[in-house]
């Protein structure tokens, strides 16, 4: 604590920043406390607040990008948390970007939700949670210290928990929420641990002090800090092997999946690593580790995405895979590329989710693509929205995804990780395959909603998705005006297509000019492969992927025999893939079963029979000796006299012995 304070931003008073941060909290309290009174107005109020927050973010642009004496952005001190530890807000380009996405995309999804959640019995509560999520996420990205970050980290986990388990009468939703929360707490704990190490070393919790001391940690401590931080990042960003909660999290309402489990919260890990770039840049081992795990996640997500039938689970695995890209990017040191992929992904993935929401909404909560088909004509707008999203995520040149994805792949190579480069390219092809597979199965061919599920190979229709009969609040019977849901999707189409162009122009692109003060100008190893070549190779892979998808699902013949084909694929799926590489089973056996087994051991064996046993035994012995004493008390005078005589004999012996000596 004796260290001089290193503050990252320009210290000052920024009321807009504070307002931006607290406004969603106010909205959450408003919707929570006065939900019954507000009714539908709650949704509008929350949406309005989200839009105002977005406006405030834009208004703070100047503060966030200012630069003074090496300090970048705005720093607003708040309170002294403990003697020597201070909390504050920090708005610099990195947090500004995140704040824009959180409030901007968040506001659109709020608007969408008004339509989607129409008629739900807990309408106001939903918006309270949504606004609370905005507040938590803003806390996460705006804190200028690790504790504030951890607070936000925990609170987004909570918001996510509430929203996954929003329909808490569904046991599957409740279980999914619990799983997500517990895994995320494991991540929180990782960050906590990093905080302990940092505080032990620097005596401070502020980013500034922690980063200023980055070169004093020494390799072991630095690696320990990075790994601890990454555990947090991995849990939140669904990196292998802590990803298993994300597919399950699709139990939540679709707007939630779009906002939390696609656009913002799950990318918090990316934010964390980008934020701690000074630490990562000092530690090659950490970069290798994180980059590798990002690559593996991208691959695993893509593989699993290829065999899913639930439209939201397809998107979930795709999210996981795309975050793998981001993590790989920021992990290897290509911060600007990783962050850029976050930026573009937020748009097109939100759009994909919202598009899928349109379908689900229209089909009365049906999520299984096997029971869809031919929706192109029935839901043309949804088709267009999905199509744009799919093209963007596949990395079709000109659309946003291609810029950022190629940047990440190229970044991996430039930072000296050719294997990750290869993984990135292969994954891009697989991405194209499973996205087009989804597209073909959903929108082409004939509608299969009336087909008996067993003919499609659906064994347990009630487990396939949000089964209709469980949603007994009957919200699907109310339909809001279509524009409420269509407008946000339409708006998102624009950045989905064009956001990537910010990266156009190499080192002079707007993106680089924006972020260079933050991350510095990268110095790369010379690579023999140019960015253009990479784009071409990737594109080739993508085309191959699309082609395979087309051949399997898109040709006329495939469309005709879709029912039989889907049944065969469903039934014949390899158990490894059906069980998602047994990650769930392994985690369950390693941690859940073990702790529960220990718990049973403790509470059924140790506690009653060993620990308490000693006490109980002594009680029994006491009572037994009570009976013993009583049994000596026969009531016979002569027996008593015998005691007397024995006592006398003992005394006499003692005194005789000592008297003689």
């Amino acid at each position: 604590m004796a260290n001089p304070e290193h503050v990252m931003g320009v210290v000052g008073s920024y009321p807009l920043l504070v307002a931006l941060w607290l406004l969603p909290l106010f909205g959450a309290i408003l919707c929570w406390a006065f939900g019954p009174q507000l009714k539908r107005a709650a949704g509008w109020a929350a949406t309005l607040i989200a839009f105002v927050a977005f406006g405030l973010t834009i208004a703070s642009w100047g503060a966030g990008t200012q630069s003074l004496n090496g300090a970048l952005g705005a720093d607003q001190p708040l309170v002294s948390w403990m003697p020597g530890f201070h909390l504050g807000l920090l708005l610099d380009p990195l947090s500004l970007l995140w704040a824009c996405i959180i409030t901007g995309v968040g506001a659109l999804i709020h608007l969408y939700s008004i339509g989607y959640m129409e008629g739900d019995s807990a309408f106001a509560r939903f918006f309270a949670y949504m606004n609370f999520f905005l507040f938590a996420m803003l806390t996460l990205v705006l804190s200028d210290n690790f504790v504030g970050l951890l607070v936000g980290w925990g609170l987004v986990g909570l918001a996510s928990y509430f929203l996954i388990g929003f329909w808490f009468y569904k046991p599957s939703a409740v279980a999914a929420a619990r799983k997500a929360f517990v895994i995320n707490v494991a991540g929180d704990v990782g960050i906590m641990f990093a905080i302990f190490l940092i505080v032990q070393k620097t005596g401070s919790i502020s980013f500034g002090n922690a980063f200023a001391a980055a070169d004093t940690y020494g390799p072991t401590l630095l690696l320990a800090i990075c790994i601890s931080l990454f555990i947090g990042a991995a849990a939140k960003s669904a990196q292998v092997p802590l990803h298993t909660w994300l597919p399950d999290a699709m139990e939540g309402p679709t707007p939630v999946s779009a906002l939390i489990h696609a656009a913002t919260m799950v990318t918090a890990g990316v934010y964390l690593i980008a934020r701690c770039a000074p630490l990562w840049s000092h530690d090659g081992n950490a970069q290798l580790l994180v980059g590798t795990i990002g690559g593996v996640t991208a691959l695993v997500g893509a593989i699993l995405g290829m065999v899913q039938w639930d439209i939201k689970r397809i998107l979930a695995y795709s999210t996981m895979s795309q975050i793998g890209y981001m993590i790989m990017g920021v992990g290897v040191g290509a911060y600007e590329a990783g962050v850029a992929h976050f930026f573009t992904h937020a748009f097109f993935k939100a759009q994909l989710f919202l598009g899928s929401g349109l379908i689900i909404h229209a089909l009365a909560n049906e999520q299984d693509v096997r029971r869809m088909g031919g929706l192109r004509k029935r839901l043309p707008f949804a088709f267009i929205a999905m199509l744009v999203g799919v093209l963007a995520i596949c990395g079709i040149p000109g659309l946003s995804g291609s810029f950022s994805k190629d940047a990440v792949i190229q970044g991996a190579l430039e930072h000296g990780h050719p294997w990750l480069y290869a993984v990135g390219i292969v994954t891009a092809g697989m991405t194209a395959y499973y996205m087009f597979r989804m597209l073909f199965v959903t929108f082409f061919g004939k509608y299969r909603g009336e087909v008996d599920p067993s003919e499609l190979g659906i064994r347990h229709p009630e487990f396939a998705g949000t089964a209709t009969h469980l949603a007994d609040d009957g919200h699907e019977h109310h339909h809001a005006p279509a524009w409420l849901m269509n407008v946000p999707v339409a708006i998102l189409i624009v950045p989905s297509i064009f956001a990537g162009w910010l990266l156009y122009g190499g080192a002079n692109s707007p993106w680089h000019r924006f972020f260079d003060p933050q991350f510095g100008v990268g110095h790369f190893v010379g690579v023999p492969i140019s960015e253009f070549t990479t784009t071409l190779v990737t594109l080739a892979c993508v085309v191959v992927g699309i082609l395979i998808a087309y051949l399997r699902y898109g040709t006329k013949a495939a469309r005709e025999g879709a029912i039989e084909r889907l049944r065969r694929e469903s039934v014949g799926m390899s158990p490894i893939l059906a069980n998602a590489f047994y990650f769930d089973v392994a985690l369950d056996a390693l941690f859940v079963k073990t702790s529960e087994g220990l718990g049973r051991l403790v509470s059924r064996v140790l506690d009653p029979h060993v620990v308490d046993g000693a006490v109980r035994e002594s009680t029994i012995v006491t009572q037994w000796s009570g009976a013993l004493v009583r049994s000596f008390q026969t009531g016979l005078v002569r027996a008593y006299a015998v005691f007397l005589a024995v006592g006398i004999a003992c005394f006499a012996a003692f005194y005789a012995f000592h008297g003689v000596h």
Partner: protein
Amino acid sequence: MLLALVLLPILAGSAMLLSRGEDRRVYRGIGVVVALATLAIAIAARSDDWSVPWLRAPFVANFHLGIGTLAFWLIALLALCTACAVLAVDSARPRALVGQLLLLEGTMLGLFISRDLLLFAFFYDLMLVPVFFVLLERGEHPRDAWRYIIYNFAGGLLLLFATAAFGVLHGTTDVIGTAGNAISGTWAPWIFWGFAIAFLVKTPAFPLHTWMPNTYASLPAPVAAVVGAVQSKAGLYGFFVIALALMPQEVARYSGTLIVLGSISLLYGAVAALVQTDAKRVVAYSSLSHLGLIVIAIATQQPLALAGAALYIIAHGLFTAALFIGLGYVEEREETRSLARLRGIGAKNPRLAGALTIAGLAMLGLPGLAGFVGELVIITGIVQSGNIAVAVVAVISVVLASAYVLRLFQGIVNGPVVHDLPVRRDLSWREGIAIAPLLLALLYLGVNPHAVLAGGAVAIPRAPLSSTSGVSTP
């Protein structure tokens, strides 16, 4: 003032026990007024000091009362918990229950403001009596009353022994609030362990905890709230003002043992809480786990860990009380505490579910609530003291905590509404007010822990470890 502080609740409680009538409103009203009055008196008398001679041989002992820094927060917690618990009483026979609650408050107040070891021991044993009687009259099984009194009395006897030996060797027991290495030599370990075992029983820590789950499960919810929240802190308070202040060298010498016991408690309680089917037992075992962390913090003697421990003592009190009161409401409505049978409160009684949620989240250490700050600071201190392995154990328990809290909370709140059960009313105003202050305090301390930390809970006098001087006055 200080004397009035102790006597007011005791006399009010006794009068209640001797009175006739069973009007809930009257007794609740009086109880709340008395509890809040003690809080007011405590604030007014914060710097008072009152002393009357008691014994001159075999050692000097005085009726010496004064409010220390940590004690003040504990008193505030106690008064708040008592007021809330009294307000939450909904028994058909409220007279005895409220009376016992006030007696409990009075005896514990006495404990916290004792400046004399002998007086401390006096109240330490005395505060068992009201709880024993509540267990006797309202407990689920006579065995629970036994266990409670025998375990705690045995601990109290060791405290008595340690106090006597301390007094004889040191010449005076009027030492609470001072610091120094008061005892050294061959007797020191015996005296230290006399104190330590007494405190570990009360806390409780492994392996002296088996009285606790039964007691908490068996007590009526309001009493369980006060016992779980405040009475369990008597031992920790003792560690602070007696073990740490007067025998720091012994604490240092046996810190390894204490840390091991604390760590076992930490994990043991957590895994046990994971599989309980009785909601109150989940909270009980979680207490074992959480308080184990405080024991570790105390054993490290690291300033940051101690500061965190002080805060966590308060935080734990708040959320334990809130949870017990909340579970009491659940039990009143559903007439069961079995997690196998409870479900769907969230749809039926959303306000109750909300209250339970906040309390549960504080228990699992959600960032932003007081429990989190305490845990974070304690473990930071533990790491600073170099016990990385212990810190790992501690964070594992944090993960386990999230698992068992969610299991508890989801079991009660979530799930489909059981339609064939009658829909009971949601929290009434009275019930809401009985739980709200605790939750607000949790939020407040989570946002602004400075209130306790800077208020000087850390500033309990402690002797430097190297010093062998006698007792110094602060």
